[in-house]
């Protein structure tokens, strides 16, 4: 088995938000999903560079479509998580689950 790298927390959240958005996940929609579910402001710089990084790692891919009614606007990217990305998410979840095992009692205590 090839050695897996681990996803950072924010990278996981971005990939999960793309999956949540379905086929039509554009950058604006993803960012809003993130902000809504994580209940925090996402800085644009960190967001876009994370998208670029995930693309470089081949965990996501995008297609550009023209924006606006007549298609004359600036291009808009629509993102999709690649099978490698899904695999990586699964792997990260397993590692975390292992680490979480048996800690419910400790962590549930306020």
């Amino acid at each position: 088995m090839s050695r897996k790298t681990y996803l950072g927390e924010f990278e996981q959240m971005v990939l999960l938000a793309i999956l949540q958005g379905g086929d039509d996940a554009n950058a604006l929609a993803i960012r809003r999903e993130l902000e809504a579910s994580a209940n925090r402001t996402v800085t644009k710089g960190a967001f876009y560079t994370t998208l670029d990084r995930l693309e470089k790692k081949r965990f996501l891919t995008w297609t550009a479509r023209p924006r606006g009614e007549n298609g004359a606007g600036l291009p808009q990217r629509h993102f999709r998580v690649t099978p490698e990305g899904v695999d990586q998410l699964r792997h990260s979840r397993e590692a975390l689950t292992k680490l979480w095992r048996g800690l419910d009692e400790v962590l549930d205590t306020p």
């Binding site: 950058a27 604006l28 644009k44 710089g45 876009y48 924006r67 606007g73 291009p75 990217r77 400790v106």
Partner: protein, 901 residues
């Protein structure tokens, strides 16, 4: 809602910025599109100002982020030739970022660590700038590293340093090949008059004609001296210092070529030296010496300081060999004047820097390194505490594949970040300290090249020290933290085992730190005591309430001894008559300000050869000299007015040391003493009084001057002819208030005669002991900082090690132990550490101090006071550091203490 008629566009400049920074192609355009879309949506909801502001903010944030990304990509780009370096750089950057995050995450710990390192770096930087500015930067002339001083010695008389007579200088100059050239000077005062201002005295150097040109500093205006201008009978010429030209002559651009009166002679101004040039010591003006070597018997006349630059590639050793050969030749050719006299060469700066001061400075630097080590140990302990909390993090990192080196590097980088910030703050503190220090020492009479300031070499040193601190403080915690056993830590849910392991190491650090602090404090304590002793050396006379001054008569205006004697008698009479003056005296020199040695013989003693005649510091003084200085004769009486004139009865006063050394077992009064050797034509003088010892002092920083040879002779005024005399007046009020009256009193006697060195005696002595002023205070500050760091560090590490035992305390309390018993137990444990540390420290300190004793003054290395106060301070701090957290632990609810773990 407000209806907009025209589409609103984002700010153009913000767009331009984005175009420049965002990636090219679809990627950049799509991001721009997202921004535009969001901007449009915002403009429908709020006034235009808010969306524009939002757009600008977003543009700046995005541009910054992408610019950084681009930089990183460029570094990591394959084919850029920096791939490997780039990768390393990338991870290093990540480590730095992580380090910064850790810094912010634990602000209290980081703050303490940063401040501790800052203090250590500030102290070492400050001390180094003193060492560098005093001994290493050197005299600011081209080729200063080759500039040397040549003096004479006379080993059989125990004379290690004396100046060179003109004849020897001339021969030396003709015969030497090791130097590019050699020049000579003697220091004196130069009286400038004959222009519009009142006559004024300046510190001057009487130099050989080649002296200034050999130094290689070109004049600002005009020229320096020409060959032949230093010969007897040459027309007098003067070169002005920059500030004399500015202040006395208002920066007159046509000053060169003008004629003024210098020391009573019409003298041409031939040049002005640039600002800051004060060679050889702290001079204002330069004139040629014009010594008539041909008219002088060999070995007589004004002695000279000789200096020169070694030839390129030449060494001190080779120069010394040549000088020894020259001295041997001179001794063979002129045995009467030169037998037993050697020539010695040394770096120029050492001529004006007593060896004791050099040793003290180097020692201070070593000691500040000790303080830095304490600071590093403190920070290492803090990092160790943090490492013990983070052992899980390390275990996870290791489990996820991070190698040990990777973990070590990350921990080290964190300490580099801490040290970096600390170093910056430290340099800031040192800079502030230097500014304050410069202001304090500005008025101290000291060599002109002594200039402690923050420049490139000093900054480079701070950088090195900072890097050293980072490694010293970080390496052990990093190595310890990285050796964590993964399985053990992931299984072990309590912090106990790992922290206890680190705790054991912490205990070792506590004991070592106590030992090092203690040793340093012992050494510092003795050094401070030594400096304080030197500063407060019992002068043997009263310095308060005395105003002093000096007056010099010129041969042109006062041609013979009678006229000069008359003048000084008249001066003293007028001083005594001045309202507010209770007593007045004149003397060839005042105590505490140096003196010259005269050979003498005691009647009844036999001296095998002329070389066996002893020497003592001798002064010529008027009646009331001792009364004015608040000194009471222990035997006999003072000179009478009649004795203190030319032709007066031959009498003499000696000091106690003289009586003890040269007249042992005799009644001093009535003994006969004669100045000179066997061929002396001077009269035998009867001892009529004995005075207590008075400090002689000198002008080379004052440490140890004449402390070993305190014997003194006092001759009555008129017995030896001096054209320069000092005066002292005692007053009931502040002595400085009398200064204007004194000045005008002398002006009335002779309007061409200036008074110089018109200072309260205390200040005159302070000026003469500049080295204490310069370094005494510094050492005290350094000692205080060492104590502070040691105390804080000790408190920190002891408190930490006690807090590590909270769980144990909880268990004990739960099992029914009494709180006071637990406190006792913990304090006892701490006291054991303290006792071991202090014991080792005292032994180390005693060892250090005894090796330093040669540079200490008036200090008993076994002095229980120093040891006692250090043991008390460290002991109290250490016990307090155990007691407070121990008590806090016992006051906690046992359940909470256990849960906390």
């Amino acid at each position: 809602m407000k209806h907009r008629l025209q589409p609103v566009t984002p700010p153009e400049r913000a767009d331009a910025l984005l175009h420049r920074c965002l990636p090219d192609g679809v990627l950049g355009l799509s991001i721009l599109g997202d921004l535009h879309q969001e901007f449009e949506e915002l403009t429908t909801r709020s006034a235009l100002r808010a969306p524009r502001l939002w757009y600008w903010r977003s543009a700046i944030s995005l541009s910054g982020r992408y610019a950084l990304e681009r930089l990183k990509t460029r570094i990591l780009e394959p084919g850029s030739g920096a791939l490997m370096g780039g990768e390393v750089m990338g991870t290093l950057l990540a480590d730095v970022r992580f380090g910064l995050r850790m810094l912010i995450k634990t602000p209290l710990l980081s703050g303490v660590a940063v401040l501790t390192i800052a203090l250590g770096v500030a102290l070492t930087t400050h001390t180094y700038s003193s060492v560098y500015g005093t001994m290493l930067r050197g005299v600011p002339v081209p080729g200063h590293d080759r500039l040397v001083h040549i003096g004479a010695n006379r080993p059989e008389f125990g004379i290690t340093e004396m100046q060179i007579p003109i004849h020897d200088f001339n021969d030396l100059r003709d015969q030497q090949t090791a130097f590019e050239d050699v020049g000579a000077f003697y220091q004196g005062t130069v009286n400038v008059a004959g222009d519009e201002g009142a006559p004024e005295r300046f510190a001057g150097a009487f130099v050989s004609a080649n002296a200034l040109s050999h130094l290689g500093v070109p004049p600002l205006m005009g020229r320096t001296f020409l060959p032949g201008e230093d010969e007897a009978g040459a027309r007098p010429v003067i070169v002005l210092g920059y500030h004399v030209w500015q202040n006395r002559f208002a920066g007159d651009p046509a000053i060169v070529g003008k004629t003024i009166r210098v020391n009573g002679e019409a003298t041409d101004i031939v040049g002005v030296m640039p600002e800051g040039f004060r060679f050889p010591f702290l001079e204002d003006v330069w004139v040629t010496h014009r010594i008539d070597a041909a008219g002088l018997e060999r070995g007589t006349g004004m002695d000279l300081d000789v200096f020169g630059k070694l030839r390129e590639g030449g060494s001190l050793r080779a120069a010394q060999a040549e000088l020894t050969a020259i001295a041997t030749r001179l001794a063979q050719a002129y045995p009467e004047s030169n037998e037993g006299i050697g020539l010695v060469v040394k770096p120029y700066e050492e001529r004006f820097m007593p060896r004791e001061i050099q040793a003290v400075l180097w020692l201070m630097l070593v000691a500040t390194f000790g303080v830095l080590l304490i600071a590093c140990a403190n920070v290492a302990n803090l990092l160790m505490a943090r490492a013990s909390i983070r052992s899980k993090e390390v275990a996870i990192r290791t489990a996820l594949g991070a190698g040990r080196w990777r973990v070590v590097r990350q921990f080290l980088m964190e300490s580099f970040v801490l040290a970096g910030v600390g170093g910056l703050v430290g340099v800031g503190i040192a800079w502030g300290g230097l500014v304050a220090y410069e202001a304090v020492i500005a008025d101290i009479y000291k060599p002109y090249w002594i200039d402690p300031r923050m420049d490139a070499p000093v900054l480079a040193f701070s950088l090195l020290v900072t890097a050293f601190s980072a490694v010293a403080a970080g390496i052990l915690p990093a190595l310890r933290a990285s050796s964590v056993q993964i399985g053990e830590n992931l299984k072990d849910e309590s912090r106990g085992s790992s922290s206890r392991r680190l705790g054991r190491f912490s205990n070792f650090l506590v004991v070592s730190e106590i030992a090092v602090s203690c040793a340093l404090l012992v050494a510092a304590g003795f050094m401070i005591q030594s400096v304080v002793n030197l500063k407060n050396v019992d002068l043997g006379f009263e310095t308060e309430g005395v105003l002093t001054g000096r007056v010099g008569l010129f041969a042109n205006d006062y041609p013979d001894a009678d006229v000069r004697d008359q003048f000084f008698a008249e001066l003293r009479a007028r001083l005594q008559a001045e309202p507010g003056v209770t007593s007045a005296a004149v003397g060839s020199i005042l105590p505490g300000l140096g003196g010259s040695q005269f050979l003498f013989g005691v009647e009844g003693e036999t001296y095998a050869t002329d070389r066996d005649f002893p020497a003592a510091t001798t002064a010529v003084v008027s009646p009331d000299y001792f009364e004015t200085l608040g000194v009471e004769l222990t035997q006999g009486r003072d000179f009478t007015e009649l004795e203190a004139r030319i032709g007066g009865d031959p009498v003499i006063i000696v000091n106690q040391s003289f009586a003890d050394t040269y007249l042992p077992g005799r009644q001093a009064l009535g003994e006969q003493i004669r100045i000179g050797r066997s061929d002396s034509e001077r009269p035998w003088r009867t001892v009529i009084g004995v005075v207590p010892d008075m400090h002689v002092g000198g002008n080379t920083g004052g440490i140890g001057d004449d402390l070993e040879r305190p014997e003194r002779l006092f001759l009555p005024q008129g017995s030896i002819d001096f054209s320069f005399m000092s005066f002292a007046v005692r007053t009931n009020g502040p002595p400085a208030d009398l200064a204007p009256a004194m000045r005008s009193l002398v002006m009335e006697l002779d309007p061409n005669l200036p008074v110089y060195d018109l200072l309260p005696l205390r200040q005159a002595i302070d000026d003469a002991t500049w080295a204490f002023g310069l370094f005494g205070g510094l050492f005290t500050i350094f000692g205080a900082a060492a104590l502070f760091l040691a105390a804080v560090g000790l408190y920190g590490v002891m408190a930490f090690s006690v807090s590590q035992r909270r769980q144990e305390v909880g268990v004990r309390l739960a099992l029914g132990a009494q709180a006071p018993a637990i406190v006792r137990m913990i304090v006892k444990g701490g006291a054991t550490q303290l006792a071991i540390g202090i014991g080792v420290g005292i032994a180390l300190g005693a060892l250090m101090s005894s090796s330093m004793s040669i540079i200490m003054y008036g200090v008993e290395v076994g002095d229980p006071f120093v040891y006692g106060s250090i043991v008390l301070t460290l002991g109290a701090t250490g016990l307090l550091a155990c007691f407070i957290p121990a008590r806090a632990a016992t006051r906690m609810d046992p359940v909470q203490a256990l849960r906390g773990e």
